[in-house]
Subunit: 312 residues, 2 copies
């Protein structure tokens, strides 16, 4: 586990709790000490940690912030280039680009546990963070079935449900359901701050609507700015919807179009069908395309799928 912040630290706890052998590295002494004093196997020595990973052919989990990624990949390339590799970053194509640039794509399968980001650091984490949370695992054309099984098993061991998705589709969805909501929350907080009585009257709906604006600015920037190509078009869609609603309100006194469409969309979301993916064999012909299609339709993996290797 490289990085013991909210996500990395929570995976360390959850994986250890599931009985796995797991060891971690953290750049700051604070995070590593937090982990060791809680009884976990953690270090601030990157070289030693990577040597140990290479020796045991451990699955390496990149849980560092996006800006720290290129440097970390260079170290892995140097010391543990054959280890299976995954990550937990919120933008999948940007990470894949970095991995390809480091020449490490052969053993890489991207991942993204979809959990909260309002707090950060080792202390904010806990072993139950991934319980029933969606954990996206990439099914891009290049991914290796054996590594895919390892990442799937880790996610399931942490209590998550696995959603298979192609990296570009993940990023488009993340822009709509995560990055854009951050921008809306920021814009709403700024707007309300300018109205004298607003904070005095603010209650539940404003608190909920601006909650993610409490996230550390550099985390929000890292997410949004590494997903520019997907975030710009959905931002345009929202601006267009709001502009048309504003015109309709000012000219005809009606917001019916937006409100009816928004309510219908929310109702569809509430009744979005979830199903279990059970019929795909990992490594079989067209297994990646089958998983991508199943994920798009709302399918999730709740218990380990068979793979060609384990059947032999």
């Amino acid at each position: 586990m490289l990085g013991l912040g909210l996500i990395g630290g929570s995976i360390l706890r959850a994986a250890a709790g599931a009985g796995r052998e797991v060891f971690g590295y953290n750049r700051s002494v604070e995070g590593a000490q937090g982990a060791t004093s809680a009884g976990y196997d953690a270090s601030t020595d990157l070289t030693a940690t990577l040597a140990r990973a290479a020796e045991t052919q451990a699955l390496i989990v990149l849980a560092v912030p996006m800006p720290a990624l290129p440097n970390m990949l260079a170290h892995i390339r140097e010391s543990a280039p054959d280890c299976p590799l995954t990550d937990v970053t919120s933008v999948k194509l940007a990470v894949l680009d970095e991995v390809v640039a480091a020449g490490l794509q052969a053993r890489f399968v991207g991942g993204h546990p979809m959990t909260g980001t309002a707090h950060s650091g080792w202390a904010a984490g806990h072993g139950g963070l991934f319980n029933r949370a969606p954990w996206v695992i990439s099914v891009d054309d290049h991914v290796d079935p054996d590594v895919w099984v390892m990442v799937m098993t880790l996610a399931l061991d942490c209590g998550a449900v696995v959603v298979p998705a192609k990296s570009d589709e993940h990023d488009a969805a993340a822009a709509a359901i995560s990055h854009l909501p951050h921008l809306l929350a920021e814009a709403l907080a700024v707007t309300a701050a300018e109205v004298p009585l607003a904070f005095a009257l603010a209650a539940g709906s404003f608190r909920d609507a601006t909650r993610v604006a409490g996230t550390a600015p550099d985390l929000v920037r890292a997410m949004c700015e590494s997903n520019t190509s997907q975030l710009v078009p959905v931002t345009d869609t929202v601006i267009d919807l709001l502009t048309r609603a504003r015109e309709s309100l000012a000219c005809n006194g009606s917001v019916a179009d937006l409100v009816d469409a928004g309510h219908a969309a929310r109702v569809r979301y509430e009744s979005f069908p979830r199903s279990d993916i059970i019929t795909v064999t990992i490594g079989a012909e067209r297994w990646r395309e089958q998983l991508a299609a199943a994920g798009r339709a709302g399918g999730v993996i709740r218990s380990a799928l068979p793979s060609l290797d384990t059947r032999r």
Copy 2:
């Protein structure tokens, strides 16, 4: 209590629970029967209810939807024109206009308990709905101190904290913290619905951000469309902020300006100072202006203020 929906029905329960004599009217048999079978005093006979109110000089609480207001005010004008009168509607100037048009402003003090609106109807209500919630009471130039005391006492009996505010300032704040968040939630839901994988991956932050899009469309329209003059400018502000962030992201790959400002605003909101208003005497010289200024500064009334009448 005229109207036994979420708000009216909850006030009926809370006021009765506080030991007050309270009786209600509801247009639909369903709501009235829900109340009577729970042991409350409710009826579908508007004429009889208003006659009883006039006889006992009861404080009448308008808890009907905005579109039903003119007709209801005409009945009150006919049958109980001298009763003290308040309301619980989310837009205060629009209600005041209707009350003035009906010639009932002398005994009217507007009110607005700031509570959730995602559900509606008698069954959705409960007596604890107003516990520690802000309940705005208007301090416009015309308001009568005796009626103001009655409305304040009702709100406190229901467990709310009272925020005094002028109607136009309330409406500007409500546009920023309530009506605009509804439009943003609707626009976000519509945008995400168009992205194939979005609903499959949606987790906590999307669910929170679109929660109020689940509100019945006619309730949202009634709020937004009766507050056009305040909602249009804050919608413009949000569109402008998003447009500038979009340009900055597309051209410079940065959303720093919006994210930094949004985070700062949210932090200010979290540490917004709340204080108790204790030094104002209702009915004393400039009492309305003093309360409006105290409310603007974050002051709330947690226990009944003295009034000139009770001191005599």
